[in-house]
Structures are given as structure tokens and as C-alpha cells.
Symmetry: C2
Subunit: 489 residues, 2 copies
């Protein structure tokens, strides 16, 4: 199947699009900018969701559900928030259709809403309006709530998973009694995202804080995790916002503190979305198709019998049962594909293309020899293994694949991260791709000029790494430390 896939070196964007479509991950719908997430893609997203949900619960969070619709006026209450989202809102204005003898089914003009409803692009406003009723005293805090939901942002240029008008995400919205508690929560969830990206997606990320111009609309500080894709472009994979008291003030949410004084509540919000699917694909996949870290693969091991007749198939099937059982006992998901309407070669190509981490093939010769052929998707290597302790060997192999994918991605990032000092050198480096560490004078004007001239943005001011001050590569003014530039998705 890999012949149907554009090569990455030929056209990376086309390779990505081909892969998403042909590996049955997602497709465009007829509704502008909205995607259909197909079963294979959704199964991966479900694994992400379950893993993240477990991490949220382990850090004390609970789930809830808030309305899809936000009254227009709520939306307007936090000034910078509405400015950030107003230009890309789906707006509900009517609540009924009717039959028209000439035009067929039309919107009923009689059924106009008194106040229009915005389809949520994010839920700070409706949630903080609700929290007003939930929070009275410091005893009600912290309030640690997460929501899994769909949101809509009317993007003009869309790409499957990376930028779609509707997407799926989670949004945490927490309320705290003190600035310090809220700041700690912001960092805690940033760490959860970073750990999730590295341990589950096998995707190394850099934690940092956004510059003012890249900040979430309504936040005091936006923290992010940034990953580097194989084409040298950056991808923001998750954000955690310290909202200060902005939304509490906009929605008048006050509490009685321990000193019996009224105070506005402190807030955070944090989210990751189906965009992570795009990050996953662009971090590991290759010209042969999808490559999935075993921890997120819907099926980790596929077993394919190689038989010339039904007698052989029966013998193999009988032989395979204890292998399947012992794999499942170790919590490994496995599929035995004994569909005899399809040839083994077709199956091999299909499972390789769709990213099954390990493929086991068993033929009559293997039965005689007590062996199997094991192929790993990440390196495409094959080896003959004895059946003794096979499940244990496969378990180790899956762990090795998970680690290898991470190490490979980390090595790629390290090879594509460098510090530059001069602006000319910077421009050349940006054209070559990767993360560029450079000094910046901290002004929005310089940031905008660099973006204008090079299409590079400041991905973040990293939380770790070399903190040495220097001079801005553009203006020569003092710089507190190097920041990370890249072209980005």
C-alpha cells in the first residue's frame, strides 16, 4: 500500500494528508472545515483520552459537562477573551425550520432567538458563570473540574486534525483560593501534559511560557508544550493557562477566605485536543505509512497465519490459541487474522500501513520448528523467534519499540535544535527548519518584525536550558535569555 503514499521528501504536506486519509484516520466532511474521525483514528484518540483521563483523576480532578451554547453577552464580558474568539464563532440565531412551498425547508423567521447563542469555542465564560453558584467559601476550593467536549472555531484554512472548525478536546477549569495555588495547578497540568506526550505519544516536548502576543485570550500567562515535527516545523501540543482573577472578576465569583474576607477566585484552564493526533502522526510515521507507539495502538500485535490449505490453517489456528491467550494475559491487545479471503502479502501491507506495532507470522514450517516470524513496525526489522516464552519476548519488544520511538524523536529534535546569534544566520537556520535558540529583546515589535520577515514565531520562553543573558539578534538590546523560534503548525 505504501506506493499510494506520497514520499515525505517529495511533499511533506501531501504525505500527511495522504496518510490521514488512506490509513483511515479521518476525512473531510461536506460541512466546511469539519472532519469525520474514522474508527481507526477514533480508537487511537480513545486511548489518548483514557490515559489522560486517568492522569487527571490521579491528580484529583473530576469530570462534568457544561452547555454547548454560550449566550452572546456572556462571551463579551471578558474583554480580551471576546476579542480573541469573536472572529471565528458559529452563531445560532434561530430554533426552528419550516416548509416553504417554493424553497423547500427553510429557517423559520418567526423562530428567532432573543439573544444569539455562540457554539462554544472554549468554555471559560459559561463555566465561570456556573461557578458563581458553586463557590461561596474557601471550603469549596479548590474546584478541580475537567470537561471532555467538542468545540467549534470557524477556521478559514483547515487541515485534518491540525486545524478544523470542530474538534474534540478536554478543557480543565479550576478555581483556587490563592494565586499560588492556581499557579501551582497551572504548572502541575503542564507537567501532566509533558509526561503524557513523552510517555504515551513517545514525543519529546519542551515546556515553556508563551510571549504576550501568543497568550490565550483572557490569560495572565500561557504555558505550553512544544514538539518538533519531522519537517522541522513546531507544533504546540498542549497549553495550560494561569488566568489570574480575570474570569472571576468578569463573572463576579467571590469567596469568603479563611480571614473571613471576600476575595475574587483564582483560576486556571488547560487543554489538549485531537490536534495531538496530527502531532502523533507527524512525529513517528514514515514513507511506509503510520507508525504508532504501542501504548496508543488500538491493537498492538497482529498474528497472521500463512497456510496453503484449510488443513494447514486449522493446525496453525489450534497452535496459535495458547499464544493469543498468553499475550492477552499480559494485557497485550492482539488480533488473529485468519480471514482466508485475503492473501498474507495483502495483510502484511495493510497492517504495516496502519501502524500495527508488531506482526507475527506463522506458517507450517514454523509449527515444525517451534518458531514464528516477528516483524516490528518501527524499524521494519524481522526476526525468527522460538515460541518458548514468546509472550514475554513480545512484551519486551513492545516496550523496546515505545522507547525506540521516543529516542529516535528525541535524537531528531536534538539534531534540529541549535543556537544562533546573528539575524542573517537566523534567517538561514529558519529556512532549514528546527528549533532555533536565539536572543530577543522582549518587545512585541521585534517579535512581529521577525515573524513578518521570516514566518518564524517564538514558540516559547523555555522553562529549562541555558539561562544566560545576551543581546537581541535583531536590535542588539539586552535579552534575558535565549527563546525558541520556529515556523509552526
Amino acid at each position: 500500500m505504501s506506493d499510494i503514499l506520497t514520499k515525505r521528501a517529495d511533499d511533506y504536506a501531501q504525505w500527511y494528508n495522504d496518510l490521514v486519509l488512506k490509513a483511515d484516520l479521518a476525512e473531510h466532511s461536506d460541512v466546511r472545515g469539519c472532519m469525520v474521525i474514522k474508527p481507526h483514528g477514533y480508537a487511537i484518540w480513545e486511548k489518548m483520552r483514557d490515559a489522560l483521563d486517568g492522569m487527571f483523576k490521579a491528580t484529583g480532578h473530576v469530570n462534568a459537562y457544561f452547555p454547548l451554547f454560550i449566550p452572546r453577552s456572556y462571551f463579551a464580558r471578558e474583554a480580551s477573551h471576546v476579542e480573541g474568539f469573536a472572529k471565528e464563532c458559529a452563531v445560532v440565531t434561530h430554533y426552528r425550520l419550516k416548509s416553504d412551498p417554493e424553497k423547500g425547508i427553510v429557517v423559520d423567521p418567526e423562530a428567532k432567538l432573543e439573544e444569539e447563542l455562540v457554539v462554544r469555542p472554549t468554555s471559560e465564560t459559561i463555566i465561570w458563570n456556573t461557578y458563581k453558584g458553586w463557590i461561596k467559601s474557601y471550603r469549596d476550593l479548590p474546584l478541580l473540574v475537567n470537561q471532555w467536549a467538542n468545540v467549534v472555531r470557524w477556521e478559514m484554512r483547515t487541515r485534518l486534525f491540525l486545524r478544523t472548525a470542530e474538534f474534540l478536546w478536554q478543557e480543565g477549569h479550576t478555581a483556587h483560593a490563592t494565586r499560588q495555588d492556581a499557579e501551582e495547578e497551572t504548572m502541575r497540568m503542564l507537567d501532566v501534559y509533558a509526561n503524557f506526550a513523552e510517555e504515551w505519544l513517545a514525543m519529546p516536548v519542551i515546556k515553556g511560557v508563551k510571549t504576550e502576543s501568543e497568550r490565550f485570550a483572557g490569560a495572565e500567562d500561557t504555558y505550553c508544550i512544544e514538539a518538533l515535527m519531522q519537517d522541522g516545523k513546531a507544533l504546540q501540543a498542549g497549553t495550560s493557562h494561569f488566568l489570574g482573577q480575570n474570569f472571576a472578576k468578569a463573572f463576579d465569583v467571590v469567596f469568603t477566605n479563611r480571614e473571613n474576607r471576600q476575595e475574587h477566585v483564582w483560576a486556571t484552564s488547560w487543554g489538549v485536543s485531537t490536534r495531538l493526533m496530527g502531532a502523533l502522526i507527524m512525529t513517528h510515521s514514515d514513507d511506509h505509512g503510520l507508525v504508532l507507539p504501542p501504548k496508543l495502538a488500538p491493537v498492538q500485535v497482529v498474528v497472521v497465519p500463512i497456510s496453503k490449505n484449510s488443513e494447514q490453517l486449522t493446525a496453525i489456528t489450534r497452535h496459535v490459541q495458547p499464544i493469543l491467550r498468553s499475550l492477552r494475559e499480559r494485557g497485550i491487545t492482539v488480533k488473529y487474522d485468519d480471514d482466508d479471503t485475503k492473501k498474507p502479502g495483502w495483510k502484511f501491507a495493510e497492517y504495516e500501513f496502519k501502524g500495527y506495532p508488531v506482526r507475527i507470522a506463522i506458517g507450517p514450517r514454523d509449527l515444525e520448528n517451534g518458531t514464528v516470524e516477528v516483524a516490528r513496525r518501527d524499524t521494519l526489522e524481522k526476526e525468527i523467534l522460538r515460541m518458548t516464552d514468546l509472550a514475554e519476548k513480545i512484551e519486551h519488544l513492545l516496550q523496546a519499540i515505545q522507547s525506540n520511538l521516543y529516542e529516535k524523536a528525541l535524537q531528531f529534535r536534538e539534531e534540529h535544535t541549535r543556537a544562533v546569534d546573528g539575524y542573517a544566520e537566523f534567517k538561514q537556520a529558519i529556512d532549514e527548519g528546527g528549533f532555533i535558540l536565539a536572543h530577543w529583546d522582549g518587545t512585541e515589535a521585534t517579535e512581529a518584525r521577525i515573524k513578518e520577515e521570516t514566518k518564524a514565531t517564538i514558540r516559547c520562553i523555555p522553562l529549562s536550558g541555558d539561562p544566560t543573558p545576551g543581546k537581541c539578534m535583531v536590535t542588539g538590546a539586552p535579552s534575558a535569555r535565549r527563546v525558541i523560534f520556529a515556523r509552526a503548525y
Copy 2:
């Protein structure tokens, strides 16, 4: 806390509303007809979702995700479908807000959509439009897809969980090569719903088929499970539709069959929603608050220490650890509430009100005696148990509670189900509440007259029970068998 709850006998509707609000299950939002599902309510819904999702996967289904929005014209393609839903649609007409110097934030009239988008009230149309691209041959069938999603139906009179403008649900949409396959799928999913209702919600249900007037808009047959609430009113708890080839014809979805001929695809759809939360509450809860079947309780056992000082608390806490551990080893969810800012009496009331199935109290005397006090929520009985094999005893107790709730609900239903023959007798029976088995002549006119005169609807033509023919209680015309009438939610 039970003093804040209206008694069921005084005002059942008020009792329900009080309970949903005060047990922190859900509340009304400021958005007309939309609810906020609070963490305690959402945790129960999550348990339902996970159990159902497992049952769907065990019957070969996969999950996917389709767009929230449906173009107006798609919606209109299946005639009876649009007729059924057009009157209650939220319609998106614009995609941008803007600042107006006088009015503040307003809808930007420049950003009007060429074709309006309907917020999905159900997804048959958008999904069948997608299936057109997925189905070419009988080899692509059956296609067994489910979606977990939010949907919007602009209901004018709403009640928390039972009838809300936005609700959460799952909708299965399957495609088959033959009528028989689709009919079998319709019945398979009806059975899944019935088993789920009985085994997880501990709620007995009657399986049946709807009359034509109660059929889903676009279906050839609608099957349902019907439950009886404590006030004698029926509640439709799930539906499974045989759609024939209606949507395949509307969206031109054909496949090449085994005989190499082009044929329209056969379809089913089936769904249950957060309405099940209402069914759960009204089946088991009482004047003391929520009663939850252990299999759906977010926390099954709460352990409350009874101590006069911190020394006692420390001793109890130490003593409790192996109990918590052995409960968790059996897969029982347990909370140890050692919050010493709240009195045991307050905690008892709180956990009783919120429906924790089992409460264990341990005081200093218990430590001496090697005992604990165990209270079960369903019967409110308490007993002193020796600590030996406590986890095993609790596991059996949870099973006993689950069974007892089912048996109690079944007994209630049996006591409130009866056959009547005359129309006068029927009217009186309907006023008394419950399921009434009566003969009906099979016409829409008679059904409408009965509804008009008694507010009773035909809940279903049951699939089992006495199939003896008779004469319609209203017209005297022949009746194929008794059907089930009730007033309903």
C-alpha cells in the same frame, strides 16, 4: 439532609427536581433548556457509558465521530425525518461576531452562511451521506459504528435529564447487505439495551415495538425498552430502529452484492441518552435521597471513622488500611473519609443522601471488639459485622443490594401492571398509574382518541407475554393482542 427533600407522596415532580439539584447531579444553566451535569451526576453517566461501550464493542461495534453540524439541505432529504425534527432545531446562520460602537458585541451581518447549518438532533443524514463514500461492495458490510456525542433538540418544556435542549447520548448507525441482517441487528441492540438496563441500572424493562404514530422519523420499525417509574408513569429508556433502505435511498448509498448487482444498503440506528439518569433516579431513589445500584455508584463503599480525638483517629486510620486494601483488591471502589472538620452525623447524612450503597463506620469500641458497623443504603438497615473476611462480606452485600434493587423494582412493576377490558375501567386504571394491558384495534384514530381522552399512550406492542387476540376496548373491533398503555415521561 433528607429534610430538604420534598416527600414523593407529597409532590413527585418536586421530589425529583429537589433530588437532582440537591444530590449535585445536575442543574439548569442560564442557557434555555440546557443543563450542567455536575461531577456526581457525570461520574454516574461515565459508568453507564463505559459499561455500554464495552457491550457495544463485545458485539463487534467500533466508535467514530461525525460533525456536529448538518447542512439544511441534507436534513431535508428524508421526508418524514425532516418533518419529525424540523420544529426543534438549533440553526447556525453566521460565523462571526463583531464589535459595534453602540451595541457592543453583535453578530456580523457580513458573515452569513450560504447554507444554514443545523446542530445535529440525531445524525442519520450526515452519517449516511458519509457512508456513501465508505460502502462499495458487500465486503464493506456490515458497517457497525457507534458515536458518543451531544445532540440538540429545541424542546419547549424541559426537565433535568428527562427532556433537555442539549443532551449526551450514543447513537449507533449500522449498514447491512440484507434486510434480515439489519433486522437482526435491530433486535440485537434492543437486547443489549434491555440487558444493560436490567443488569446495570437494576431496572426491569419491557421490550416492544412502537405503533406507527410513535415511530422514529424515518424508521420502518422502532423497538423500545419501557420502564415504569415509582409514580406509575412510563419512561422510554432506549430505542432501536430498523430503518429499511430509507436513508440509503435518500443519500444514494448502493453496494454491489454477492450476485454482482447494485442494491441499496439496509440500515439500523439505536440510542440511549442521559435520560437514563432520570430513569435511574426515579426507579430506586426514596425520600431519604438518591439510591444507586452498586454497579453504577461512583464510589461503592465509604468508610467513616468515629473518633473523639486525633489519637483515636490515628489508631482507626491504621486499622482501616488493610480493609481498604482488601476491598480494592476485589475491585470495589472505596473512600475513606477522615476529614475531621466534619462530624460523623453530617457525613452519614451526606453519603445517604448521595446514594453511596454501603457505609462502614468504625469507632474505638469496634477496634477493641474487632467489629464494624455496616449500613446499606437500599434498606437503610445497619448491622455489626466482625472484621474477619470483611471484604468478602461487603462484596456479597453489594451483590445483594444490586439484586434487591432489581427485585424491588420488578415487584413494583408487577404490582402496577394489569389487564383491563372495558374503556371505563381503563380510564380509572390510567388515573391510578402503571402499565395497563388492553386491547386496541390497531388504528391511529383510536390511539389518538385514547391519548386525547386519557393522556395515555401506547408504550409498545410487547414482544412477549400473552398473545391472545381480543376486541378493542374502545371500538370493539378485532385486536391482535393486548398492548401496553401508560401515561409517560
